[in-house]
């Protein structure tokens, strides 16, 4: 049987190689962007507005655009997403047709490519509702895109904590809403926050849908009706039009740093949920 064990060792080695290869891909991408981009990062780069279409100056307006658009998206999506998660887990019968339909739509929504959301946002918000290329159009389009993530993570968090708490609270004569508000939501909060953090990551990185709905103006967005360029859109345009490789690297570097931080925070918040459940 020495042959079999030799073969087993070989297979173990191959599987380890697969795992290591994944780590190398990730390390390669992140390492390369950080290595090439770190030198462009400076306080000026972050605080100065771009000039001459991004050849000079920093990226401050695109940072503001990103934050602005993300906040608007969260403002619209979080209440709706968490609200429907509460409804699906605490009020609806899980076998009811309506609950099944909503779950199915949420899954479908999660699978639709961002370019299709972009087309929709363009024809609906920009043209039909007359919002033009604006932070609002982009934010609302983004809100629809992150809705499934927020709802699903909230549903999972509620499902994970609710069972016994729900029975105990209802048995004390609490109403559904009292049970939700006082016991279930506080204990599910870390899971809900995880979903929100992951959505921020998605909003920061989204490009295709934003170009078609928020435009690509380099001006500083003040009103929600102003057009705006996000960091990701900026990176795309700089790279595609060969405007400034150095500044493109700086922008990419900043995005990657943000994404790494966001992922770390999401993990932290998730581990807090599991700890609370113990």
């Amino acid at each position: 049987m020495a042959g079999a064990s030799g073969k087993d060792k070989l297979l173990t080695g191959i599987f380890w190689l697969a795992g290591i290869f994944i780590v190398l891909i990730l390390a390669g991408i992140i390492g390369y962007v950080l290595f090439r981009g770190a030198s462009s990062l400076s306080l000026d780069f972050i605080l100065q507005p771009p000039s001459r279409a991004g050849r000079l100056g920093g990226i401050s307006t695109t940072i503001v655009g990103t934050v602005y658009l993300t906040l608007l998206a969260l403002l619209a999506a979080v209440p709706v997403g968490v609200g429907s998660a509460i409804y699906l887990e605490e009020y609806a019968h899980s076998r009811s047709r309506f609950a099944k339909l909503v779950n199915l739509t949420a899954e479908t929504l999660a699978g639709i490519p961002s370019i299709v959301f972009g087309l929709f946002g363009f024809v609906f918000f920009v043209i039909f509702l007359g919002m033009g290329w604006s932070v609002l159009s982009g934010g609302l389009t983004m809100a629809i895109m992150i809705l499934p993530t927020i709802t699903r993570t909230a549903q999972e968090a509620i499902l994970a904590v609710a069972g016994e708490y729900r029975e105990n609270s209802l048995a004390l004569g609490a109403s559904r809403w009292q049970t939700v508000r006082r016991v279930i939501l506080p204990s599910a909060l870390p899971g809900i926050v995880t979903g929100i953090i992951l959505s921020i990551g998605r909003a920061v990185g989204e490009t295709a849908a934003i170009i078609l709905t928020a435009g690509s103006s380099l001006g500083m967005p003040v009103s929600p009706m102003d057009p705006a360029r996000t960091m990701s859109v900026h990176l795309y345009i700089m790279a595609m039009e060969g405007i400034s490789t150095e500044r493109a690297f700086g922008t990419a570097c900043l995005i990657v740093v943000l994404i790494v931080i966001i992922n770390y925070l999401a993990n932290l918040s998730l581990s807090r949920l599991t700890k609370a459940m113990r």
């Binding site: 079999a4 073969k7 297979l11 173990t12 599987f15 380890w16 697969a18 795992g19 290869f21 994944i22 780590v23 990730l26 991408i29 390369y32 609200g83 429907s84 409804y87 009020y91 309506f98 339909l101 909503v102 739509t105 899954e107 929504l109 699978g111 639709i112 490519p113 961002s114 370019i115 299709v116 087309l119 929709f120 363009f122 024809v123 609906f124 039909f128 809705l147 709802t151 499902l159 109403s175 559904r176 809403w177 920061v204 990185g205 490009t207 295709a208 078609l212 990701s232 859109v233 990176l235 795309y236 790279a239 990419a252 995005i255 990657v256 994404i259 790494v260 992922n263 999401a266 993990n267």
Partner: protein, 294 residues
């Protein structure tokens, strides 16, 4: 029979339930509006040109009223297939590694890294492809680098997390007894994986591949940045190629009239394709042993 009372409200709380139900209903409303608006803009021209002509005609000259997305359809399929060719085997192997081979700590770490891989925006992948992979191909393999190959490499990386996560969960969901039964019969660990665990996890792994494919077909920014975007059917892996999604994002900026409608029609094609893909996955999941709640 006594019907079950669901009345667990205090005074004034029934409107809360209505509000929450409305939030949930918004999902249905939103998807209905999306469908209506995309179709309203795209379907007329699709019907005017004819579905078959629109899909398979390779003549895309929107300025002279010739709308055939055949070239881009082939482009999407070629890039997607090429990316699946390497990402599926690697993804499934990594999933097996995480579920069956790696020590728990290593598996957890790798899981966190795969999440990070999933979190990196497509525009960053596209950028890295443009500055790293495209020059590499140009210098060592030939052509100008912007190619099917570059697209397949970048897309493959992007769909790895989908394939890994779903396959891993499917493998982990296989009842322990199967593996123990196999080991008890004197099979080695790897014989058990190949003959018992993988067959048992088959439907989950197929789901992973299908969803990975959906993601690859719909991906836009990364592809547009590395594939060169020439509207021609690629002659080989080093040729440039234009996908349906690239076509939309490249031309929406200046398209008007029927041209714009044709881009929406491309959106309709993508939308229908993805929705069908999702429904099929959903149904096959439900058909294959209703484990879990959903």
């Amino acid at each position: 029979m006594q019907p079950i009372s669901k009345n667990l409200h205090r005074r004034g709380e029934s409107w809360i339930e209505k509000g929450l139900a409305f939030c949930a209903a918004l999902f249905v409303i939103v998807i209905a509006i999306i469908t209506i608006f995309i179709f309203a803009r795209g379907l007329p021209i699709l019907l005017k040109v004819g579905v078959a002509d629109f899909l398979f005609n390779t003549d895309w000259r929107p300025t002279s009223n010739s709308f055939g997305i055949g070239t881009m359809l082939v482009g999407s399929l070629v890039v997607t297939t090429a990316s699946l060719l390497w990402a599926v085997p690697l993804g499934i192997m990594t999933a097996i590694f995480m579920a069956e081979v790696a020590p728990p700590r290593a598996s957890r770490w790798l899981g966190a890294l795969v999440e990070l891989l999933a979190g990196i925006p497509s525009v960053v992948y596209g950028f890295v492809g443009l500055v790293l992979i495209v020059p590499f191909i140009r210098n060592y393999l030939g052509g100008n680098g912007l190619s099917v190959l570059a697209g397949a490499i970048i897309l493959g990386i992007m769909i790895l997390p989908t394939i890994i996560n779903i396959s891993r969960d499917a493998i982990r969901a296989v009842p322990k007894e199967y593996k123990e039964g196999s080991l008890a019969l004197g099979a080695t660990h790897y014989q058990s994986i190949r003959r018992v665990i993988l067959p048992a996890a088959r439907s989950g792994i197929i789901t992973a591949v299908v969803l990975g494919m959906g993601r690859a077909i719909g991906e836009t920014m990364a592809v547009v940045m590395v594939t060169g975007n020439s509207p021609i059917i690629p002659a080989g892996v080093l040729s440039p190629v234009r996908t349906m999604t690239s076509n939309i994002v490249l031309e929406m900026g200046y398209a008007a009239g029927d041209h714009q409608a044709a881009l929406f029609a491309t959106g309709v094609v993508l939308f229908v394709f993805i929705v069908i893909l999702n429904l099929v996955v959903n149904m096959s999941l439900k058909a294959g042993a209703a484990n879990g709640r959903r």
